[in-house]
Amino acid sequence: MSDDAMSEFVAMPARLGGIWFALDASAVREVLGRVSVTSVPGGPVGLMGVIPWRGRAVAVLDVAPMLGGTHPSQEPRNRTVVLESSQQAVALPVDGVREARPIAAPRPAHAVRMPHASLEVEVDERVMALFDLNEWLATLGDAA
């Protein structure tokens, strides 16, 4: 693969349980450790709560239901990825992340299926869904 092709897209792999998925690294603002989340009663499904981050409150979203719902939502997670979309910043608690790296351009999802992930990427010979934050936020916004 040429260097040009490799530099088309930068992905950050994240893991929840045994499932890896990819985040668009250009949207990642910070990776925090385990955080204390303030629950929001009456919030939309998928909203775990909010955390203070850089002078504002950021919504903490639960990725687990999209991965099959096998990971208890209330289980503390070791890493919290803060991403910023065109709409707002959000935080995703995950069990682990790996360093961001340039990869080949995402392709339509075929090998892996995950809600809000119409594309997939290949990182270190592992195919994983590319999570579409904007699409998910639009869904949550409609539901709210």
């Binding site: 303030t38 939309p44 909010v50 504002r56």
Partner: protein, 116 residues
């Protein structure tokens, strides 16, 4: 600086603007105020929070522990649209330096239909 009254309801701590709290008192006989948080059970040994709201004075059941706190205005963080659209009763996140952050309730968004 803003003064906040911290109350516990439904197992969590919430903050209210101190200048909107008229009193925190024992519950009177036959008084059955709704919980401050919809859906949360009203504790048997509840105290009653008297609040100034947009609908006039209202009472809500809260758990016995009540604290006062002061916070720098920079510690009152605006909530994201995802939260405010779904739950307009929450006005901000109070981020303290020495204790966990809590949601600040907007008394004017507590309406009659809210309750257990």
């Amino acid at each position: 600086m803003s003064s906040l009254t911290l109350v516990r309801a439904g197992g969590a701590v919430y903050a209210l603007p101190g200048d909107r709290v008229r009193a925190v008192r024992a519950r009177r006989v036959r008084e059955a105020p709704p919980s401050l948080v919809p859906g949360a059970p009203t504790p048997a040994s509840a105290r009653v929070l008297e609040l100034d709201t947009a609908d006039g004075p209202r009472v809500f059941a809260v758990e016995p522990t009540v604290e006062l706190a002061a916070i720098d205005d920079e510690g009152l963080l605006p909530l994201p649209p995802l939260v405010t659209r779904a739950t307009p009763r929450f006005a901000a996140l109070a981020a303290f330096l020495d204790r966990p952050a809590v949601l600040v309730i907007d008394p004017d968004q507590l309406h009659e239909e809210d309750g257990p």
